[in-house]
Symmetry: C2
Subunit: 353 residues, 2 copies
């Protein structure tokens, strides 16, 4: 059984999307049980409409809902202990849930998650990992917005955590990991990225295969399983790709509507277009994963449909089922054990010399 | 008349692409005259095939060609004064050409351009501006790879230079300018970007309208005429968008080949697909513009076709014709004049107090 806590009040549509989304996910994974957090007057009537979901859920009434435009600091002040967001996260901390999924505002969700769950030992700052559709399947890209300007050690941590997530998600044994960089010779890259490359190479990590630098166009190609970057460029890459996909979909729509011949062609090729639409459908790939916390937190798009929210639950389900947190902890431990200086009189001696 | 100098030896295909590219551009703009730099044994036979081009060109024999994988420092050492790249740039410095176009390696071209032309007064580091097709037409994005980690003053310089380029290219009077940032509340953005936002707002620039922050998906939407960012994230955004476009084209091809119905549909809609292909054709938008130097340098894609190289010449033609350098110099002067402390005894006095 996988126990998933849901913040029913998160997202642009709140329980109206989250509840049917949960029902959809439950159909796919009947072994899920849910802990549901929200305002009773708004949520209970909706839950009553899905008897199967209701039978597999426990509902907790929470008076406070974090607003989508609320500042993280304000959300923490107002919503700590009492909001649906906080309490759904807390369920993971208390060991009552294996993973929490929320479509609430990213900043508040991250702030509350950090505050409530705390970062793992040796992890300074968490990362948000996105699952990115590629020509070869899917890759993981992190960080897409949690930390602005990570240093080389943090980039190495991201590589470790992303590698663990790839093993949980793709079931590859030793995922390939690339560092996102720019391709202009001799001006090549930020110092942090260069240093991180050296650091990762020298660390000789068992858990992943370090590929080297990759460029922006390698993400869509699927050159590596995991693309590591700091949050500023990662967020810009993610949003730019989303924008480009929308732009091309717009061109395609316009082209197919321009002439009668094109419209006829569209009818013949409708199956193909549906397939393409499916490929490009953002609701099929939804769910950013917060990595580096003592517990799994999944962030759904705020504007997600029920179908998309169900996809985010799927991600949470996979992560919990495949023991993401444990995998990350093990990898971190192994890495840091390797780095520790030898313990004993010799070590102390050599330190004093 | 617009005088354009060309590095015939640049790019993956050298004169085999550059010479026919020049011939194509000349058909569109008969008022161009060319200064051609390259190895005579390789170039002259090709030029002889295009009598119209030959009539409007002067050819200069250069023994040295900069290699595509040559390090900038090595290219400078080996190619200064003698390479086709250097001499085509020098033609601008000597006032013999209005603009230079090269498909040679970016790092070497930037290094030589900086060394030969020098940066403009008050400009610390040049930027590379890309012309980006959007849903609303075209926008300018800079920097896409020349400076890694620009500070707030440099970002303001980019805004000024990008604004001047927009006026030269789009013939808008007061282009809108946005700063590329991430959208996660309270973790919002690098310090440099936030500072640059304040700086640009306070500068109250006549030459542009400051829009505020934009995100990655705003580029493709065409939210602003000019998107300003530092070179690391700009390069990643550009390459990621290119990768995404290729990825979707790949999906589309696969979808259209999957069934007989789809192939029939494709035939009916072929005109529409051709239109789409045209929209997505990288050769239609080719030519990065180096900004901030005492002269206009256009960088074509290394893998450009003759058609694409002609497009890069078109960009150079437009920039020279519309007085890009002069526009930038004027805007910079106006901005810096505004910033200067009052001149006169009072100023000196107050300095000494």
């Amino acid at each position: 059984m996988i126990r998933i806590s849901l913040d029913l009040m998160g997202g642009d549509f709140g329980p109206g999307v989250v509840v049917p989304g949960a029902a959809k996910a439950l159909e796919r994974h009947p072994e899920i049980s849910f802990l549901l957090y929200g305002r009773k007057d708004l949520c209970q009537p909706l839950i009553d409409k899905f008897p199967k979901l209701k039978a597999k859920s426990v509902f907790y009434d929470c008076e406070v809902a974090v607003a989508m435009d609320e500042k993280p600091s304000q959300a923490l002040r107002r919503g700590r202990n009492v909001s649906s967001m906080w309490r759904s996260i807390e369920a993971v901390k208390l060991g009552e849930a294996d993973v929490i999924v929320s479509a609430g505002n990213t900043g508040a969700l991250m702030a509350m998650s950090k505050f409530c769950l705390r970062t793992m030992a040796n992890i300074e700052r968490p990362a948000i990992a996105a699952i990115w559709p590629t020509l070869r399947g899917e890759s993981i890209v992190l960080d897409v917005g949690a930390t602005i300007g990570a240093d080389s050690q943090q980039l190495l941590d991201f590589a470790l955590m992303g590698g663990a997530m790839a093993r949980a998600l793709f079931e590859v044994e030793r995922p390939t990991v690339g560092l996102l960089n720019v391709g202009v010779e001799e001006m090549k890259g930020q110092e942090e990225v260069k240093d991180a490359g050296r650091l990762i190479r020298e660390a000789n990590l068992e858990s992943l295969e370090y590929f080297g630098f990759v460029e922006g166009d390698d993400i869509g190609k699927g050159t590596v399983d995991v693309v590591v970057t700091e949050g500023f460029s990662g967020n810009i890459a993610l949003k730019t790709a989303e924008g480009t996909a929308k732009q091309i979909a717009g061109y395609l729509r316009a082209a197919m509507n321009r002439t009668l011949m094109a419209r006829i062609g569209y009818l013949f090729a409708k199956g193909a277009f549906d397939m393409l639409r499916e490929k490009l459908d953002p609701s099929k790939v939804n769910g950013g994963v917060f990595l580096g916390l003592n517990g799994i937190v999944i962030k759904s798009h705020g504007g997600a449909t029920a179908e998309a929210f169900a996809a985010a639950i799927d991600v949470g389900y996979d992560m919990a089922k495949n023991g993401l947190t444990q995998k990350i902890e093990n990898d971190l431990k192994r890495y840091h054990a390797m780095r520790l200086p030898p313990i004993g009189p010799e070590a102390v001696m050599s330190d004093e010399v």
